[in-house]
């Protein structure tokens, strides 16, 4: 199996970011909240990216920040996929009023912009990492639900599913042993896109001051903390842009590759 160059680059950077997230405490030269120097010192041998608005090492903040951002985005993506695809498959298998009820509710949720609804909900929930993951994951599961249901409706009328039904298998078997394995490839491709969306989403929330709370670091928060520097010509707030963009583009390249591979195998996207 040959991996195209674009996908290989994507895989490399995605793996790099995840490894950096996992081993952050080993890689980061300083502690996450450790004040080591003056305010906004330029990049030097001691501080590769310089220091931030209160004199913490920016490279260490970026590494720990990546850990937080990637952890939240991954957890929210997993939640969104589990909820969305199980409910979507269930809707396709059950059909009738249960399907109608769930699908119309999802339509309703999707008629409100996600960010606005997240802000409404976050105005009453305590701003903690589990709450963030829950809100982001559940709101995003509407999109996974739509895809999963569409894919499962197609699979549900296949002969092998009919055969399983005639054998008298239960709904659990149909969903997990018949539909899930066949729906996996379009879902995995979509997973990359949802993950990127989650990274952007949690960064936006943190930037607005409603996500990860200081002194913990995350990419959106780093922008917020160093935003004032922009007016004085200090570019510290722009580093997360590079990190987010490279991560997003790499994941995109991998997702594209997975999608192309599965389409050529199956002759269609689900």
């Amino acid at each position: 199996m040959r991996i195209p160059v674009a996908a290989a680059i994507g895989l490399f950077f995605t793996a790099l970011y995840f490894l950096m997230a996992i081993f952050a405490p080993l890689i980061a030269p300083y502690g996450v909240a450790e004040v080591v120097g003056g305010v906004w010192e330029p990049s030097s041998g001691d501080y590769l990216l310089g220091t931030d608005s209160i004199g913490r090492d920016l490279l260490s903040r970026m590494i720990y920040g990546g850990r937080t951002t990637i952890f939240i985005a991954t957890a929210a993506t997993i939640l969104s996929f589990t909820t969305g695809s199980i409910l979507g498959f269930l809707a396709a298998v059950l059909g009738g009023w249960a399907d109608q009820l769930m699908s119309r509710f999802v339509d309703l949720l999707m008629s409100i912009p996600t960010l606005i609804f997240a802000l409404v909900v976050l105005s009453v929930t305590p701003v903690t990492i589990p709450a963030l993951i829950l809100v982001m994951g559940l709101l995003d599961s509407t999109r996974v639900y739509r895809l999963a249901r569409a894919v499962a409706v197609d699979i549900n009328v296949m002969d092998y599913v009919e055969a399983a039904k005639l054998r008298g298998e239960g709904r659990g078997w149909i969903i997990f042993r018949e539909i899930l394995p066949n729906a996996l490839s379009p879902l995995v491709a979509e997973m990359g896109l949802r993950f990127i969306f989650m990274v952007l989403f949690v960064s936006t929330l943190s930037f607005l001051g409603l996500g990860v709370q200081p002194p913990a670091a995350d990419w959106g928060g780093i922008v917020k903390e160093n935003a004032e520097g922009i007016v004085y010509g200090v570019g510290a707030a722009l580093y997360p842009a590079i990190a987010i963009a490279t991560l997003a583009i790499s994941v995109n390249l991998v997702a594209d590759w997975v999608l192309n591979r599965t389409t050529s195998l199956k002759g269609g996207r689900g």
Binding site: L119, V124, P126, S203, L208
Partner: protein
């Protein structure tokens, strides 16, 4: 014609129903979650007396059902109550800020819409050649960076390094003359344009390609019509509805993008009002802003559907 009016009436009724359900959702979203609103406003150290007072003040002792209807009744008549934190009237405040937000969104749309359609057409004209590839590369990059970061990049290079325009919109005054106002919103407008441009170009490109690859365009080409006639008589009427759809969906997207961009550029609009009061846990303000944003969003989507119904005869005669 009768069927068209009926379809339109149905679509408008659906929009209103949706808005009503959304108002329930926004209201429920702020009450069913674990945690007491009064507790989260006052914090963990609040005394039981203070909590009880605030609950009574917010009407939390009444059943949710009657609270919802008094809130909805107020919202319909344009009375959103007063903000918890400042005690100011929410409707007056929103009235002031909604105008500013619409002013910003309007100018962004004026620039972004024609530009996106033009570039989308360009991408179709030079399909699979460098202008097309350049456009899709830029698109990929710009959807991979969150709006607020595009905002800071633009602020850093155009506002601070080049000093072409003021780097924040703090100096914005609604009563200043038009040129001064445009000068102070120049950067946010540029950023919003960049944000929606990518989506709009991509969708325009796809919509036009879809039409240009249809069998009837090929027939028209084969029977020897000039390119101009093909576009005027065959391509354009079929492309209007998808393009209008693209524009409306992106205007809806713009309205949400405004929230973040206003915070970046410290612009006194609805978005900043909403975000400020989310962190202050001022629920009435958040509900009011949420409802207005949702209404604008639903309204624009509805307009998109109505234009498609009007411009596409096929939708008028459902089989």
């Amino acid at each position: 014609m009768g069927s068209v009016t009926r379809l339109l009436a149905q679509r408008i009724a659906l929009g209103l129903l949706l808005l009503f359900l959304v108002s329930i959702l926004i209201f429920v979203g702020t009450i069913i979650l674990p945690g007491d609103v009064a507790q989260s406003i006052l914090g963990q150290s609040a005394t039981p007396e203070a909590l009880a007072n605030l609950r009574a003040e917010l009407g939390l002792n009444e059943p949710a059902f009657s609270r919802y209807f008094s809130w909805l009744g107020g919202a319909i008549t344009g009375d959103f109550g007063t903000a918890l934190t400042s005690g100011l009237d929410i409707t007056t405040e929103i009235g002031r800020r909604l105008g500013n937000t619409l002013f910003l969104a309007f100018w962004a749309a004026i620039i972004a819409v024609p530009l996106a359609i033009f570039l989308g057409l360009l991408a179709v004209r030079y399909r699979e050649r460098w202008p097309d590839k350049l456009i899709s590369g830029v698109t990929l990059a710009s959807i991979s960076i969150p709006e607020f970061l595009i905002g800071y990049v633009v602020m850093f290079y155009i506002g601070v390094k080049l000093r072409w325009f003021p780097s924040t919109a703090v100096s914005y005054r609604p009563d200043a003359d038009l040129l001064t106002r445009l000068d102070s919103i120049a950067l946010p407008v540029i950023v919003l344009t960049l944000v929606v441009l990518a989506h709009m170009m991509r969708m325009t490109r796809a919509a036009i390609l879809n039409v240009m690859q249809s069998a009837y365009i090929e027939t028209a080409e084969l029977k020897g019509l000039t390119m101009f006639t093909i576009i005027r008589k065959h391509a354009f009427p079929n492309a209007v509805s998808p393009i209008v759809n693209v524009v409306m969906l992106n205007l809806a997207y713009l309205v949400v993008g405004v929230v973040v961009i206003e915070v970046v550029f410290v612009y006194p609009g609805m978005g900043q009002y909403l975000v400020d009061h989310v962190s202050k846990r001022d629920v009435p303000v958040v509900q009011a802003c949420g409802l207005i944003f949702a209404a604008v969003y639903i309204g624009l989507n509805m307009v998109a559907d109505i234009v498609s119904i009007l411009s596409n005869p096929r939708l008028r005669h459902p089989k």
